[in-house]
Structures are given as C-alpha cells and as structure tokens.
Symmetry: C2
Subunit: 198 residues, 2 copies
C-alpha cells in the first residue's frame, strides 16, 4: 500500500482527534468507508464549515457561528447576572446541570503573566465594558480554584467592585484540579446553590 | 444555545465515529475548535475526498482511490499466490505482521444464503476469473473459522481445485470468533507459517 494513498492520508488526519492513536485511526477509517459513508461525508461537510465559521460571540466570547451566541441573542435570559467561566464547554455543562438562566462570559483561560497571558487576552476589557454598560446585579465566578484562577477571580472582583456590582464565587464542591465539564451535574448544581459573596 | 447551531450540528455529526457518544462528541468538538482548527480543517478535507473517491480495487477488491490498489499495481509482489481475506483491514494487518509478499483478494463478507449474500456479492466471479487467467500456484484462505466462513472457504476450495490451483488455510492459532485485525502480529505470523493444504 503506497505511503501516501488517500486511505493512509485519512488515517493520518484522524489522529488529530483527542485520544486517537494509529490503531484506532485505522479502525475509524475502515468503519466509515465500509459501513457509514453517508455519515462520514456529512461529518466532513459540517466539520469544514464549523472550522471556518465558528468564532467567538462578541458579547460573551463563547463559540458561535453568529455575531451573538444563542444565549446572548435570547430575549428570555435574566440580564442582571453574568457567570464567568474559563471555557465554552463549561457554559454547556452549566446549562445542562443547573437552572441558571442569566448571561455568561468566557475567559478562554486564566491570567498568567509568566506565560504572557494578560487581561486583554482573556477579553477582560470586554467584560469591564459590560460591567459599566449593563445593569448588573451580580457576577458569579465559576473559575477553577488554582493559584492562577484565584488571581483571575481577584482581578475580576476588583473591577466589579469598582462598578458597584456584587461578586460571588461558586462553592468549592469542585475537586481541586478537576475540570468543570467532567463533573456530575449534581455536584455542579450544588456548587451553584452554595455560592458565597466575595 | 439554539438546537441547530453549527456547534450542535458538529457534535451530532461526530457521533458517526465508532464508540463516540454525546459526551465524547462534545469533547472532540471543543478540542478541535479551541486547540486544533488546522487539524480539523485538514481532516474535513481528506475525509470528504476519501468518502467520494475511495472505491474497490478492480483486481482484489481492497479499498483504493485508483483502479488498482498499490499492491496490485506493484511490480515487486509475488504474483503466484493470492491470499483471500474477508475485510480490507485484514490486508493491512497481514502486511504489517507477516512477510507475505503475494497478492490478495478481499471478499467483503462471508457466504450467507439466509441473508441473501451469494457468490457475486463477495466478488467470487472476479476471483474465479483470476483463477482461470493468472498463473497461480496457491490460494491461501485467511477466513474466519465460523460456519459461514467454512462454507465460503469450501466454495473457493472447490473453484480452485477446478482450475488446478492448490489451496491452503492459515492455521487455527486464530481464536474462534476473534477478528484478524486485532490479533497480535506474532500469532498472525504463526498462523501464516502453520497453514496446511486443504
Ligand atoms: Zn454570547
Ligand atoms: Zn488490488
């Protein structure tokens, strides 16, 4: 089998999927080619479109193909509260596990001066503008309890205080180093209910 | 998040991958969007091309984007032997694990009258033509030792005998019900070396 056959290119390309080594890449390629060409063709089409068209929401920085995400564009959300998370996947996790119906803000990381990640890399200038312009009652911080997460939370708490907006942090039911998106829904819901003022 | 957002379409479409449920589809989508857009775009491009262009080799019925696969088109193979397998993935497994350098024939299944799978569905008319036209010394059967596999092997053995071509079967080091492509290379090599005449 020639090294650069289309089949081998497909097996190579499949290795960009997380946790997929050479053996499972091969298994996936044969599965699609022999049993689900329609599914593979549809996936290829949607993936190409997603990789070029999905960007950050201009208001909350979560992932969306529109200027505003579905939550920011909705007229049914409670606009007095912003929940600040690190990753877009955490918005999905909170939506699925809790009855929170306010707005969001996605940082995309944590402040880390040593890695050159400053406030504007996390969109904190956009958040500051929202703190000034929107009529907010509360900012809920759902940021991981690490050193960098703590510094990031403190930075946001300072800015919120400057604008007279109350700040809370979700309760530490979240295990240290644990990732929000893999938590069971019950724990995440409890952490929301048990949030306290900063 | 709107139900038919491009992100949700991507998560849906990823479920065509074997073993990928809703949770890992979501994890894959966020991984590609946030950490590897180039890899995702390349995968989409290669997958679209593979799903439309990869067909069966006209001579051996393995998967290829050309009229003839790399093995059939090669001038370096020993043309006196054909190894008959059920699936294209088994060609790859044999190439990787053994020093077999003959040709192949891929059935794509086993004879199963109850399921309406007859000789022509497995390309056995093409194999018969090869038995008549090529100067073959041996046909090696690497077909799983099930009832249907046995009937398929017997069918091919009869046709080969009709054309005066010797038939052998790889040794039963292969566990019953085990799939060739997941066998360790050593066992597969032993099964090849221990083949016996039918
Ligand atoms: Zn938004
Ligand atoms: Zn071929």
């Amino acid at each position: 089998m020639a090294e650069r056959s289309l089949l081998n290119q497909l097996i190579d390309a499949l290795r960009c999927l997380p946790g997929v080594g050479p053996k499972s890449a091969q298994r996936i390629a044969f599965h699609l080619l022999e049993r689900d060409r329609d599914g593979g063709a549809r996936l290829a089409r949607v993936m190409a479109e997603a990789m070029t068209r999905i960007q950050r929401c201009q208001r909350c920085r979560t992932l969306t193909e529109n200027d505003l995400c579905g939550i920011c564009a909705s007229s049914k959300r409670e606009t007095g509260t912003i929940c600040v998370v690190e990753q877009p996947s955490e918005v999905v996790a909170i939506e699925q596990a809790t009855d929170y119906r306010g707005l969001y803000f996605v940082l995309g990381g944590r402040l880390s001066p040593l890695d050159g990640i400053g406030p504007s890399d996390l969109g904190l200038d956009i958040l500051e503008r929202r703190l000034g312009e929107e009529s907010l009652a509360e900012v809920i911080l759902a940021i991981s309890p690490t050193v960098e997460g703590g510094a990031t939370a403190q930075f946001i708490a300072d800015r919120a205080a400057h604008h007279g907006v109350k700040v809370s942090r979700i309760a530490h039911g979240v295990p240290l180093g644990g990732e929000l998106e893999y938590l069971d829904g019950g724990t995440l819901a409890l952490a929301f209910a048990g949030r306290r003022d900063l």
